[in-house]
Amino acid sequence: MRVASDLAKCQGYGNCVAIDERHFDLDDDGLVVVREEHVTQEERDTADEAIRSCPVAAIWLEDVR
């Protein structure tokens, strides 16, 4: 799986970063930056929690095509 994001939706809550620093970070404008796209099986739970914690659903997981 890989992480995807929509910068038009992101409001810079930073919830994702607080939960999953490996995959998410904030840029200088305070918006989300995906640090690492790839999500391993072991990382899956943490990534899911970060995604659920986003109040505006600006991040999600997709299948690698």
Binding site: G12, Y13, G14, G30, R52, P55, V56
Partner: protein, 482 residues
């Protein structure tokens, strides 16, 4: 917050003379008194918020009011019910503007602070879960745990009826209700006696009237006196179960207000009902035989169950739980809350209940009956609203306000009751004992007696002593004659 001290300080108890049976009109029209009610009564009493069946699933919410404050009745991810103040902690925006729905988070429309009711994301449902630009706006320092939606500290789910109070010092719900709970039981239990076997039927009817909220409470509390005049036209039309020529609540001609053995019940705690527990009123005869059969079966099942428990079968109301939750637990079976808007405006909400396991033909019959009976377009409701609006309007005048209302029916004619701190009227229709007790309790709250004083005052019902004195006196007189 305290009351504006520039107002002449007045004790509302001075406006209520329950010994003489006179109550000043000011309490129905005066701005300052209304403000005192909002400050001292509504945040300290137990109020009806909504029904658990309105929020059956995790994430469900229902928007309601407690006095002057908008609240959200919510169910979190573990199935727990919460009552949250529907006002953002940032600038007060109403975080949720829908009547009901499902969501795990309330994101404020103004600056998008986001509150969650998902216990896996926040410590307590309603907590602040995110603010936009946390990093730049607050340098990541905002103490989110401190800025959650304000939570109502006391919530009680009574057989699906959800009550709440803002006051940590308030008595437990069951102590607040006392023996009046029998009426709540009949409201919440199914027609066949199944405990808590009811659910809310469709939406909530909401409308505004140009009237003081206490007119509504008082009417349901025990004003059976108005029926024959106010509802004469409804009776003529025949909107009840039996159709034309039959009565609107389905009573036979010798029942209801006209029956022998029916009395009103008045509690020292302020609650009141138009009937008593020993007064049995079987379900009506319907124009449609299959409905008569259905309800006859339900009545027999209930009678058997309750008799086995040693419980009387009466107690259907209409009734009012102090201060502003009124209901009837028969035909119709409906809850009516009078939300105070101003001294002369009230928003009335009507919920209708139906048995969870009621078949479609029963639901459909009740739906039609409820529509023609209640709500802004219902005929019975229109009759009452007309009175309350005009009564409020004609009581606002400078001269009108000099003259009190009369509450003298049944003065010193109260009858003893087997219930705790309660008395009965001596007549089914006449008798304003319920209203007198309601306004006394109202004044105790509005004059801001402490919760401890409120409890102490209601510890004894001196009306019972008066009854005993009266009985002793007449016994002595009889002896003197002998």
């Amino acid at each position: 917050m305290t009351i504006d001290q520039s107002l002449p300080s007045q004790r509302v108890s001075d406006l209520i003379d329950i010994t003489a049976g006179e109550i000043s009109r000011e309490i129905f029209v005066d701005e300052a008194i209304h403000k005192q009610e909002l400050e001292n009564l509504f945040p300290r009493a137990w109020l009806f918020v909504g029904h658990a069946s309105q929020v059956p699933n995790p994430g469900d919410y229902f928007s309601s009011w407690m006095g002057s404050d908008p609240v959200l009745l919510t169910r979190d991810d573990r199935g727990e019910i919460y009552v949250l103040l529907n006002s953002c902690r940032h600038r007060g925006m109403k975080v949720c503007r829908y009547d009901e729905g499902n969501t795990m988070q309330f994101t404020c429309p103004y600056h998008a602070w986001s509150y969650s009711i998902d216990g896996s994301l926040v410590d307590v449902p309603g907590d602040l879960h995110g603010v936009p630009h946390l990093k730049s706006a607050y340098q990541g320092q905002l103490e989110k745990a401190k800025w959650g939606l304000v939570r109502c500290p006391r919530v009680h789910n009574y057989k699906g009826l959800v009550f709440a109070t803002w006051d940590e010092q308030a008595p437990d719900f069951l102590d607040y209700v006392g023996d009046f709970h029998w009426w709540l039981d009949n409201l919440a239990d199914a027609f066949d006696g199944t405990e808590g076997g009811t659910e809310v039927f469709h939406g909530v009817l909401k409308w505004r009237i140009k009237s003081n909220w206490k007119f509504v409470s008082e009417n349901f509390l025990g004003d059976t006196y108005h029926g024959a005049s106010t509802h004469a036209s409804v009776e003529a039309v025949g909107i009840g179960p039996g159709g034309k020529g039959k009565r609107r609540h389905g009573e036979r001609q010798n029942q209801g207000g006209f029956s022998k053995g029916r009395m009103k019940t008045s509690f020292r705690l302020g609650h009141g009902a138009s009937d008593n527990l020993d007064y049995e009123l079987p379900y009506p005869e319907f124009a449609e035989p299959e409905l008569t059969e259905y309800f006859e079966h339900a009545w027999n099942k209930r009678a058997e169950k309750l008799r086995a428990e040693g419980r009387p079968l009466g107690g259907r109301g209409p009734a009012t739980m102090f201060p502003n939750m009124s209901f009837a637990a028969g035909f119709p079976r409906s809850i009516l809350v009078a939300h105070p808007i101003s001294p002369t405006e009230t928003e009335v909400w009507r919920w209708f209940l139906v048995d969870k396991d009621a078949p479609d033909f029963v639901r459909e019959w009740l739906r039609q009956y409820y529509m023609r009976y209640g709500g802004p377009a219902g005929m019975t409701e229109q009759d009452d609203m007309e009175n309350w609006d005009y009564a409020t309007n004609a009581s606002r005048g400078v001269v009108a306000r000099r003259y009190p209302y009369n509450y003298q029916q049944g003065l010193d004619r109260e009858q003893p009751s087997e219930l705790d701190r309660a008395v009965h009227s001596d007549h089914a229709i006449a008798g304003e004992v319920n209203a007198r007790a309601f306004y006394r309790r109202w004044a105790e709250y509005v004059d801001n007696l402490s919760q401890q004083e409120l409890t102490e005052r209601a510890q004894v019902d001196e009306r019972i002593d008066r009854i005993k004195e009266r009985q002793a006196k007449s016994a002595a007189e009889l002896e003197g004659q002998a």
